[in-house]
Symmetry: D2
Subunit: 384 residues, 4 copies
Amino acid sequence: MKDILQSYQSVRQWTLDICEPLETEDYVVQPAAHVSPPKWHLGHTTWFFETFVLKPHKEGYKEFHSQYNYVFNSYYESVGARVLRTDRGNLSRPSVDDILQYRAYVDEEMESFLPSLEDDNLYSLIILGLNHEQQHQELMITDLKYILGHNPLFPVFSEKGLQKPETCSDEDDFVRKEEGVYEIGFEGTGFCFDNECNKHKVYLNPFEISKHLVTNIDFLHFIESGGYTDFKYWHSDGWAWVLENEIKAPLYWYEVDGEWKFYTLEGLKTLDLSLPVCHVSYYEAAAFAAWKGMRLPTEAEWEVAATDFDWGKRWEWTGSAYLPYPGFEKAPGAVGEYNGKFMVSQKVLRGASEATSPGHSRRTYRNFFQPYYRWQFTGLRLAK
Amino acid sequence: MKDILQSYQSVRQWTLDICEPLETEDYVVQPAAHVSPPKWHLGHTTWFFETFVLKPHKEGYKEFHSQYNYVFNSYYESVGARVLRTDRGNLSRPSVDDILQYRAYVDEEMESFLPSLEDDNLYSLIILGLNHEQQHQELMITDLKYILGHNPLFPVFSEKGLQKPETCSDEDDFVRKEEGVYEIGFEGTGFCFDNECNKHKVYLNPFEISKHLVTNIDFLHFIESGGYTDFKYWHSDGWAWVLENEIKAPLYWYEVDGEWKFYTLEGLKTLDLSLPVCHVSYYEAAAFAAWKGMRLPTEAEWEVAATDFDWGKRWEWTGSAYLPYPGFEKAPGAVGEYNGKFMVSQKVLRGASEATSPGHSRRTYRNFFQPYYRWQFTGLRLAK
Amino acid sequence: MKDILQSYQSVRQWTLDICEPLETEDYVVQPAAHVSPPKWHLGHTTWFFETFVLKPHKEGYKEFHSQYNYVFNSYYESVGARVLRTDRGNLSRPSVDDILQYRAYVDEEMESFLPSLEDDNLYSLIILGLNHEQQHQELMITDLKYILGHNPLFPVFSEKGLQKPETCSDEDDFVRKEEGVYEIGFEGTGFCFDNECNKHKVYLNPFEISKHLVTNIDFLHFIESGGYTDFKYWHSDGWAWVLENEIKAPLYWYEVDGEWKFYTLEGLKTLDLSLPVCHVSYYEAAAFAAWKGMRLPTEAEWEVAATDFDWGKRWEWTGSAYLPYPGFEKAPGAVGEYNGKFMVSQKVLRGASEATSPGHSRRTYRNFFQPYYRWQFTGLRLAK
Amino acid sequence: MKDILQSYQSVRQWTLDICEPLETEDYVVQPAAHVSPPKWHLGHTTWFFETFVLKPHKEGYKEFHSQYNYVFNSYYESVGARVLRTDRGNLSRPSVDDILQYRAYVDEEMESFLPSLEDDNLYSLIILGLNHEQQHQELMITDLKYILGHNPLFPVFSEKGLQKPETCSDEDDFVRKEEGVYEIGFEGTGFCFDNECNKHKVYLNPFEISKHLVTNIDFLHFIESGGYTDFKYWHSDGWAWVLENEIKAPLYWYEVDGEWKFYTLEGLKTLDLSLPVCHVSYYEAAAFAAWKGMRLPTEAEWEVAATDFDWGKRWEWTGSAYLPYPGFEKAPGAVGEYNGKFMVSQKVLRGASEATSPGHSRRTYRNFFQPYYRWQFTGLRLAK
């Protein structure tokens, strides 16, 4: 447990580093129900340590503010009432300064607490809290891209970007795997989320999976060949989503005077055709695959084959529904609400993205979202 | 192909038999978007044979009415515009008599066409049409139970009922299966839907599955122990559904002066505790299982073990998402829209119900609905 | 009070006469929240006599059905729970036959009760009930035009129509009135609604009011000159209504292959240019007047000048808000809910229409609707 | 025109004075569609002078930012596309600093332009712009009370308050006016809005109007006697509003442990019973009057009698609909959109409030809102 103080400080600092280019106003707004104001992320990740570590375990700890449990709880039903997700953007107070003071207060308390930590369970809980904060780091980048990318002034977040997105080969190059019994799921000594357990056997039919992600040029071909106007490539729900939302291209793509542009954290740019396509929903990913006469890989196929290709640039939609692995058990108490209760009506994504925090990815990592979301850095890889 | 005329006549007649106790007014209304007026079912099943068999294949066939394609198309995007599902209950015309004439006209044309039928593909298409009509027979019973069961007068549909629901043992009796590779999916010479193919191997961990369905008395215990008021048994979506719809019991259960009653096709009755529970959503089924410390079976587990228990009284929710089997291919053309495009955000049900038409069930049959629906004759069986 | 039996029979019969061309199915549907199924009108007008006359005043009267108070109450909050207006079209029962039996039962009871009637207040209440039924007669015609006119088959209600709509001069011919104090409101011995009282003085500035209604040809000019696409003629609410509902012409106007048609009770016809325009909202009426550089008359102007022009073909939108006259008092009890509680956010209409029942119109009659409705037989007359 | 520079500077400075106690975050949020973020008010009032004065009339004027016309337009359809009212709270940029720079830029340009002003029409337009800004000053206070008063932390806006609300006598003291012809409307040399013209005659019946506003103690009696739970005092729309929104007291009243508190700009306080009631909708005002057996005055009654009582503490709901006076004409162009297009479905308020800017009230001033709004400083006075 010796390194935990350093891990704590480094993860907590990264959150602040991400926010460095923001104006105060950018912390406040919530342009869609599924987007949270950055200042809420700052408070919520802090609330985790106050609620689950300091209050129950540090003797003499004095709560920072009696109302913050209400304001910064997210979906933990066990821990009392909470601000409705759609209301977060209506709260001008606590101010950003108030929340930064809250962070500093909790960090100081944690830093004096961690050196003497000896309880294994508590250690695991803190590691969970840091992984939780890393998830919110990625969400925060995702949300602020949404906030700035939906502003008619298209502000630049940072000229530097966070990580450079990398271009991607569009060679037609597939990994082939034979049929048989394989094993998937996490096993080992490091951290994993409960949804990655248990390691278990699956039977796979023979399959091929592309070594490369689908690129912007590929997706442009799909658009130009009428992919968004022919129902036959789409799931029924996907087609209804296209019609209702008048979807014509990935999120952040804008056709200006006949030329395709896309919004990036560095501002509005000419579409870079060689980048892996980003910000597509599961519906779009599946329709693209159908148009190609192929399909998305299952999560088991992806995990088995991932040793043979590069990944980490996009969260990649799989064809798999988000369901418990054999033997999955929820942890008792509020922390048990973490993953299991979302195991219906969502799809699994595998990989990681340019917004993923350093060290926060694994081959067995299971991300998950509803099929209509596309504000994440989501892309796809084909299988057949 | 010699028996097809008899099959045709028998299936078509069964539809009319179901309607026999209805008043004209009962054919017309649509009390919820997912419910269709019985007269629409009468027309739509007829439209199938006119559109896919008679118009393209019978020489000299004269369309009955030029507007009926528009009125009775359901979700076949390939075949032109269609009346929105939520608008069907607004149409007083065509009248029930008009539609019965339409049925008689199409039946006469089909009956003169079938004896000379020689084309295998066409034969398969007609068999598909008859299975399609059987599905609508069950839907029609489901819908008219909804129509009458939501009327404040609680009208009796039939004193006889359609099939007698059977009581169910509540012994604690499980089938146990060992881990290993099993095969599921349809193989053989009779009819199956495209979603049952291909037969393929799956790896199953050891599991146990109950020989008996969960009964009303079991569910009453769940209610009385606070199952509907404690979020910890529920999926996040399920809990939101409970709160928004103020769900407190299965559909058609009414607490009157402290006594539980339920609406049946024979009218409002005292709740029969020994019957298998019916009209529960996936959310409720999963919450019940969690409360019991168990889970729902996967569809593969169900199919493998179903040789060892009785089934057919309820459609049974499984834990499996409705997804394509390995090697699944959509048929070309409008008929290909049948199943594949629903393969997102739905759960698989296995079994059959008291409303299922004679002969219309198989161990490999995959029914599917969104997790929030419960107007079907749905129940559950536990696994662990 | 001697003629009341004859009045009763004649008004009650007229309701049935209107329904004569209907199919059973036409009685059942409710294609919009503000439209009631014809069978509901049949029951509700009967419920009025049962609830307010027979139950409290006829000794030994036995209620026809204990649930009908719930089913057929409309907005009388004093008289218990009621079926939500938007749910009426979901009820297949009571059937049309059930309701006709209910009418016959109540009529028989009323006919044996009326000859011995001596109470003045009760007499007035029954006269109110008959006027109430006449209002529902007009509503019933309005509603069934909506039901049939929104059916893709455009069914003919009656080849005869109810009353022949009359063509209308489009001469530019105005009545001029001098400024001064005038009197409006009802005074006399016959029946009037409470909202017509009291007769009172108003001060009018000099004004001119057209002798003729605006015609279809006038309105076509408005359409062709871009009236529906230029916000400057519209109220802010009206413009939002145009955009949200994509309004491009009066209700029941259809442009088919470049030719204007309109739905009438005799089916879909070529637009008759010489008829007074019908089925326009207040927003459209006011926008038309603004486009003409004129305005709608106030209700006081209309009433003062109505002795000098023909009226009775259309309900005519006025510029006046529906508000109480000086000294207006609600009647005590449920009957007092009749008019006063609607005196906010509605506009006054004056006149009568081709659907108005014989004898059911007066110069002082105040009809009223929200400004966005146009399923009534509404038109307009200009003032300046 | 000599004083216009001083007027300009004083009005513009007042806007900034109001904002002095705000945190940056408070400028950004929009907790309801009818509330605008304070920073939008700052920009919009500036946009008025840039768009209608500087751009068309000051030679060589250089627009501050090409996108600001889009961002800060409100409802002026003539002047191009505009940000949807419900989207204003989603925009983190332009930042508060950006907007303050915009104000400073426009103010400097105006200050160099005003001394040489000679055009009477332009003078009038600038005076209109200043009155427009004063309206937004009041709206800004109203909106920020909503923003802070709906925050669970109930922040203090200012310990000082803006103006001290004054207590109010509850003596039963009425002014009586005889029937006859009176004159209302604006006439004179100062500024008035177009909706106050023309001065014209009205006939009034004899009436009495209270010298005092209804107070919190009066309203508490209404609540305690069941005023919010008995439909008979309410308009039909009002009753639906009460039920749908679960209204139980004026806005900002909170019952905490059996004691009534109310939110003020100085924070959450014990309800001051002697203050005139504030933040009631027209529905509540009318229901209160009905419960008292009285009514609200018409706007003509109010204006005629206002010389005989004190007013200015509350905007007072009248029974009058907001309609044009005889001879009302819209100004040509965008400025003509100011008032006329709202003349449907709104009620007139008379008076002024503690949030009204100095000098911005007149006896003939016509304020107007939809009957369901109550975030304004609205109260009522009884008439009979």
